[in-house]
């Protein structure tokens, strides 16, 4: 039998259901793995010491003949942006160190109800602001493919945990690419669902109109299984969509059969030329497209003239909303409090200066500026108009194609420290992922190979119209099957072994 930790969630779930493996075994195997490697990877901020107890309870219920969900007993890592009652929730910030939420995020509650076993909380850029997890107040996470490189961000911890076999599944959040870009640089799968498909209740807010919670995994089917558990209307989230969703797992299974590719129209964006990407990234992207074409898909050029303004609009909308969302961290009701003399205003200001990192402060100040009197129309107001234009670009494109494909990010994993002092350069990592958040459409990143020049993972991103998440799972699973067959095994088989580095 394959090493438990090397199994993907679907296979593990099958073995749990058949009784071949117990959840206690599966959970312990992952806890052991975490102990062995997380000293080097630093994917986890907190490991759940009650995980084995939870696993045991699932095993007992199964033994008693209770009918359980497909993923019951499978361990799950949870990005620290999601609040949990039994583990601290810091959102990667010092200002929330030790914070214990009295309620569970809806997606966490649904995961528990489905029998998933929370292993721990994963590292992230502070308040989800970043593309490298270097802005975590608790130290960076290291890419399992090369420990001196970034695992992506803001959800680098979840992606690295899954890539390092420290968890088969993880929950993440994506505001401008925070699930998809880490998937790209770690050779894993990540989906940003349609805005409103998954509840944001309990996801510590960054930019309310852009944030979405989604699955992080090693295979497209696994991501589909997890999205099926967490998605659906939540009365606590006014922006959640009231509809019955089709099964993403079923779509993935269908896609893996390969039949859906013939006649599928795949759009490639003129305004995102190959020249804008690292050569190995562009090459891997083209290779993936060629494989789909060989199966009968049609590649169509589409134009999205307003994508040029997407990053600019994003870096106005996000800071503006974030500056308001982060105002609640003020030393009064929870979180850090600096005991300085003076008024409560002095305490608030000193606490926030000490508790927030430089990237967070940068964006709060920028956002405060964008909303302030006299600047609203030129900045925030204008950015909301660009949003309309980008939605129109997508609508026009999707009139001609079924999905849009792009490389997920411009480069492979850069070195830790390389871009930290250049915020503008860091922001450009999100070039291809941001438009989906602005428009609310779903996107998935699927590993497409390794870049020739550095041997580091590359992912291809598919985008679909709002509500058509299943399409992404179909195409993603089809491509995954073609590639894995060609490679003779998953890409992650080629990660270097992680030695030592015990926690």
């Amino acid at each position: 039998m394959t090493d438990i930790i090397r199994m993907n969630a679907a296979d593990l779930a099958a073995k749990l259901a058949s009784g071949e493996i117990s959840s206690v075994e599966a959970t312990q195997a992952h806890l052991d793995r975490i102990s062995a490697v997380d000293g080097d990877v630093n994917a986890y901020l907190h490991v759940n010491d009650a995980a084995v107890d939870t696993a045991r309870a699932i095993d007992e219920r199964r033994a008693a003949g209770e009918s359980l969900s497909e993923l019951a007993g499978v361990p799950l890592a949870i990005k620290d942006v999601l609040v949990t009652t039994d583990m601290p929730s810091t959102s990667g910030s010092k200002i929330l160190e030790g914070f214990m939420s009295p309620y569970d995020a809806t997606v966490v509650a649904r995961s528990r109800a489905a029998g998933l076993v929370p292993l721990g909380k994963t590292n992230m850029d502070e308040f989800a602001m970043g593309s490298s997890t270097e802005h975590s107040a608790y130290g960076p996470t290291h890419n399992p493919w090369a420990l001196d490189r970034i695992p992506g961000g803001s959800g680098g911890g979840s992606a690295a945990a899954v890539a390092a076999f420290e968890a088969p599944l993880a929950l993440g959040s994506d505001t401008g690419g925070s699930i998809r870009q880490p998937a790209h640089v770690t050779g894993t799968v990540g989906t940003k669902p349609t805005y409103g498909a998954v509840s944001r209740y309990g996801s510590i807010a960054l930019a309310s109109s852009l944030d979405q919670v989604g699955p992080v995994s090693r295979t497209v089917l696994d991501a589909g299984l997890l999205q099926d558990v967490i998605s659906g209307y939540d009365i606590h989230d006014s922006t959640s969509i009231r509809r019955e969703w089709p099964s993403m797992a079923a779509a993935a299974r269908e896609g893996a059969e390969g039949r859906g590719l013939k006649g599928l129209k795949i759009g490639v964006v003129t305004e995102l030329p190959d020249s804008g990407f690292q050569p190995g990234v562009a090459a891997s992207f083209r290779d993936a497209l060629a494989k789909l074409e060989a199966q009968g898909a049609e590649i169509v050029e589409v134009s999205a003239p307003n994508f040029e303004y997407a990053v600019a609009a994003y870096y106005l909308i996000l800071p503006a909303e974030a500056s308001s969302n982060l105002a609640k961290f003020d030393s009064v009701r929870f979180g850090m409090r600096l005991d300085v003399p003076g008024t409560v205003e002095d305490v608030m200001s000193a606490t926030r200066d000490a508790g927030f990192g430089p990237e967070v402060k940068r964006r709060i100040i920028l956002g405060t500026y964008a909303l302030s009197a006299g600047y609203y129309d030129a900045y925030y107001g204008s950015a909301q108009k660009v949003r309309t234009l980008i939605q129109r670009d997508f609508a026009a494109a999707f009139a001609d194609v079924d999905v849009i494909a792009t490389p997920t990010a411009p480069t492979t994993a850069f070195k830790i420290g390389e871009k930290i002092d250049d915020p503008l350069s860091m922001y450009l990592n999100d070039l291809t992922t941001i438009p989906a958040n602005l428009a609310g459409v779903p996107g998935i990143s699927v590993p497409s190979g390794l870049a020739e020049e550095d041997g580091l993972p590359v992912g291809v991103q598919f985008l679909a119209p709002a509500g058509e998440d299943a399409r992404l799972y179909r195409v993603g699973a089809a491509l995954e099957k073609l590639l894995v067959d060609e490679w003779g095994g998953p890409l992650l088989d080629r990660t270097p072994a992680l030695n030592g580095g015990a926690r």
């Binding site: 929870f334 927030f356 100040i365 030129a378 204008s382 949003r387 939605q391």
Partner: protein
Amino acid sequence: MSEITPELVRHLGVLARIQLEDEEVTRLTRDLDAIVENIAKVSEVASDDVPATSHPIPMQNVFRPDEVGTMLTVDEVLQNAPDRDGDRFRVTAILGEEQ
């Protein structure tokens, strides 16, 4: 050439209740200046005839029934309180006034 000056940055720090050190003000002024120049281009395409989108998925009239649901217990409310006096949060003296 944008309008980001150290004075403006300090003022924004006050609005955002973040006490900025001098060094931070200098750094932020430089960073924001570069960022703002870059993002100012949104006003180029944001003409009057383009409506703003505040929500990606258009919906309206999302309500809940007027029925009492779960509330936090007093202990839950105060479980992360940095300082409390009995059932209430405690803060040091307030400078400003209620709006």
